[in-house]
């Protein structure tokens, strides 16, 4: 029989302490079939959406939500492709940036394209933003979307007046100090261009940039506040402001769901993007080019197509949004009248028609720099 000294015991404990985490690290590498990491806009990370999937697949799911696309793309670029399995960002990034840069991988087309058939008519396959540039590969699935221009308190600024005047509202000296700006700088770049009467999604001349700068300085100077969605809705409800730039169904729906239906997302009737004045977003969820992609990634994409889950995604905590699956009657019927009212279903189609789809500004870096300086 061997006698253990205190030193032996301490050595063994030390070895066990070291070996423990290493063993579980080995397990983590091997157990990707029960693990799923999602990088997404808020909503997909809510317990209502994730918990049923967790229990169905006994899966360990980690979802991190961020509130702007560039940060999420950055994370993949910085080398986190081996961390994440799914990425959920707005429409242009998959086909224009992430796929060409090798950050995401295509989905099996035959398995996923049929889902688009039951979506709303605008998403019929092949749906542009879900496809690669050459149209050969399916790069992601569409679900939440919405028009995103500005929000008004219709008790003060009527819907018809706001639609008529469009972005010129923010050129009106009478409204100085009466509006807010959502801190969503990529969208603010689009909207400053639109207020200046310039199409944001084209290459800009020096004159355009000069006009952009003048507009940015004036608009930020005239703003009562710059803040997040909660701050905008709070300021609208309290009467601190009467309207705010950069906003739509996504930002105002929580206030509308709380009964403040006088607050309304507005899309201008006309504007400089080939006649369109609004901008809309469509989220595309793609599988990350992870060398050890979890098999649950594609399972999750199928799971959220289910009518009930799609309805949960639409009304997950945070913001409330229309989903493409509302084209399926089984899904649409799950929405109550109040829910449809919160997401402005009555005007959704016409507002989407009046909106250009979110795109990448070719000279975004320069414009953002000018706008950041204008804020100071």
């Amino acid at each position: 029989m061997q006698n253990f000294s205190r030193r032996n015991v301490l050595q063994m404990m030390g070895a066990a302490a070291l070996a423990g985490p290493m063993m579980s690290a080995g397990k983590a590498f091997a157990a990707r079939e029960n693990e799923l990491n999602i990088l997404c806009w808020e909503g997909y990370n809510s317990a209502q959406v994730l918990d049923p999937f967790r229990s169905d697949f006994s899966a360990n799911i980690h979802a991190e939500s961020l509130t702007n696309d560039p940060t999420m793309i950055n994370r993949l670029r910085a080398g986190e492709t081996n961390v994440w399995d799914l990425i959920n960002v707005n429409n242009p990034w998959a086909r224009k940036v992430m796929y060409p840069a090798g950050l995401i991988k295509p989905l099996p087309k035959e398995e996923f394209e049929p889902y688009f058939d039951s979506m709303m008519p605008a998403f019929k396959p092949p749906y542009k933003w879900a496809m690669s540039d050459d149209g050969s590969e399916l790069l992601g699935m569409a679900q939440r979307f919405g028009p995103y221009s500005f929000v008004v308190n219709t008790d003060v600024v009527s819907r018809s007046m706001a639609e008529e005047q469009g972005w010129d509202l923010f050129n009106d000296p009478g409204l100085e100090g009466r509006y807010g700006i959502l801190e969503s700088d990529d969208w603010n770049v689009f909207n400053i261009f639109l207020i200046a009467g310039i199409n944001p999604f084209i290459e800009h001349s020096d004159d355009d940039m000069k006009k952009f700068e003048e507009t940015a300085v004036r608009v930020f100077k005239g703003a009562k506040l710059v803040g997040d969605i909660a701050a905008m809705n709070q300021a609208l409800i309290s009467g601190e402001i009467d309207l705010h730039m950069t906003g739509g169904t996504y930002s105002v729906s929580p206030a509308r769901a709380d009964g403040f239906t006088n607050l309304r997302a507005v899309t201008p009737l006309k504007g400089p993007i080939d006649g369109k004045g609004g901008v809309a977003w469509i989220e595309i969820t793609s599988t990350v080019n992870n060398p050890q992609l979890s098999p649950l990634a594609t399972e999750f994409l199928k799971y959220v197509q289910d009518p009930e889950v799609a309805h949960t995604v639409a009304f997950a905590e945070g913001t409330f949004n229309p989903v493409s699956q509302m084209g399926n009657k089984a899904c649409f019927d799950l929405f109550t009248k109040d829910e449809l009212d919160a997401i402005q279903w009555d005007s959704l189609e016409e507002e989407m028609d009046r909106s250009a789809e979110y795109d990448i500004v070719p000279d975004y870096d320069k414009a953002l720099e000018i706008m950041t300086a204008a804020k100071r």
Binding site: N74, G79, D185, L225, G227, E369, R376
Partner: protein, 289 residues
């Protein structure tokens, strides 16, 4: 052979310090080195440790770049916060040591308690207090006073937020500093005919100075990197340097620029701190001369 072994063997003290050393290197030095390395990487790239350029600093120091305004605002607000807090916290610290007696514990807890609630939640609470038709405005109208106070989303409100948030960081080191002043010395001074002001100036203040200085430095460093106060209470009516760093890391997709800005902030803040510390001669203050 055995002598070689002995030469490289760590002393027991050094060996015991290894875990802490490793922790400090990994948790403190490694991120700092990464940020510093990013600051010299090609702009808008992730070529950290693979590229070396001064381009990020060149763009920051370009005369057409107005980012210096953000540095100036941050440092100015940090300095103001420190001055205001020194004036506000001193009487409280004095009270905790000499006046409140058995109530000191409770008063301390009241000042510590807000630290258990997230800063964002507390600041949103103040928004609800100050917002139009909010607690203050609503109460004034209810009492028949003219409402319509326009307080939120102004630089003054940012300063209020900073003073409120950083109060404990000034108060507690200052309280400790004042606790270090022996009562006997003040008594002796009084016996020798010193007036209240003289006792305060010649005895209390110098002896409490280490605590006061640590409080001031702590608040200054924290306030120079402040962001949420200007975002939540100030409606971004001024842009702080922390916000510029955030924008560089997020919307601008330019980690190297963000790192360069962060590095400059570290250099300015630590440089100023060291300068002040060297000017004030800690040794004399601590009485170790």
């Amino acid at each position: 052979m055995s002598t070689d072994k002995r030469r490289f063997r760590l002393s027991a003290g050094s060996a015991s310090a290894v875990p802490v050393g490793v922790l400090l290197v990994l948790g403190f030095l490694a991120p700092l080195i990464t940020v510093a390395a990013y600051a010299f990487a090609t702009p808008k790239s992730f070529d950290v440790f693979r590229s070396f350029t001064f381009a990020n600093f060149a763009s920051i120091f370009d005369p057409s770049n107005t980012v210096w305004q953000s540095f100036a605002w941050s440092l100015f607000f940090a300095a103001l916060t420190v001055i205001l807090l020194a004036v506000i916290a001193y009487p409280i610290a004095y009270g905790l040591n000499k006046v409140f007696g058995k109530w000191s514990g409770l008063v301390s807890v009241l000042f510590v308690f807000p630290l258990f609630v997230s800063e964002n939640v507390r600041l949103y609470g103040w928004v609800l207090f100050f917002i139009k038709n909010g607690v203050l405005d609503g109460a004034m109208k209810w009492l028949g006073l003219p409402g319509g106070l326009d307080l939120l989303y102004t630089p003054a409100m940012i300063l209020f937020g900073m003073v409120y948030v950083y109060l404990p960081f000034m108060l507690f080191p200052m309280t400790l500093g004042l606790a270090m002043v022996p009562k006997d010395l003040a008594d002796a001074a009084r016996d020798l005919g010193a007036g209240r002001m003289m006792i305060w100036r010649e005895i209390e203040l110098p002896l409490a100075m280490p605590g006061i200085l640590i409080g001031m430095l702590l608040t200054f460093v924290l306030a120079a990197g402040a962001l949420t106060e200007s975002k939540i209470l100030g409606g971004q009516s001024i842009i702080t340097i922390a916000q510029d760093i955030e924008v560089a890391f997020t919307y601008a997709q330019n980690w190297p620029l963000g790192s360069a800005l962060a590095l400059i902030l570290v250099v300015i803040v630590s440089g100023l701190s060291l300068l002040i510390l060297s000017k004030l001669d800690l040794d004399r203050i601590l009485g170790r001369r």
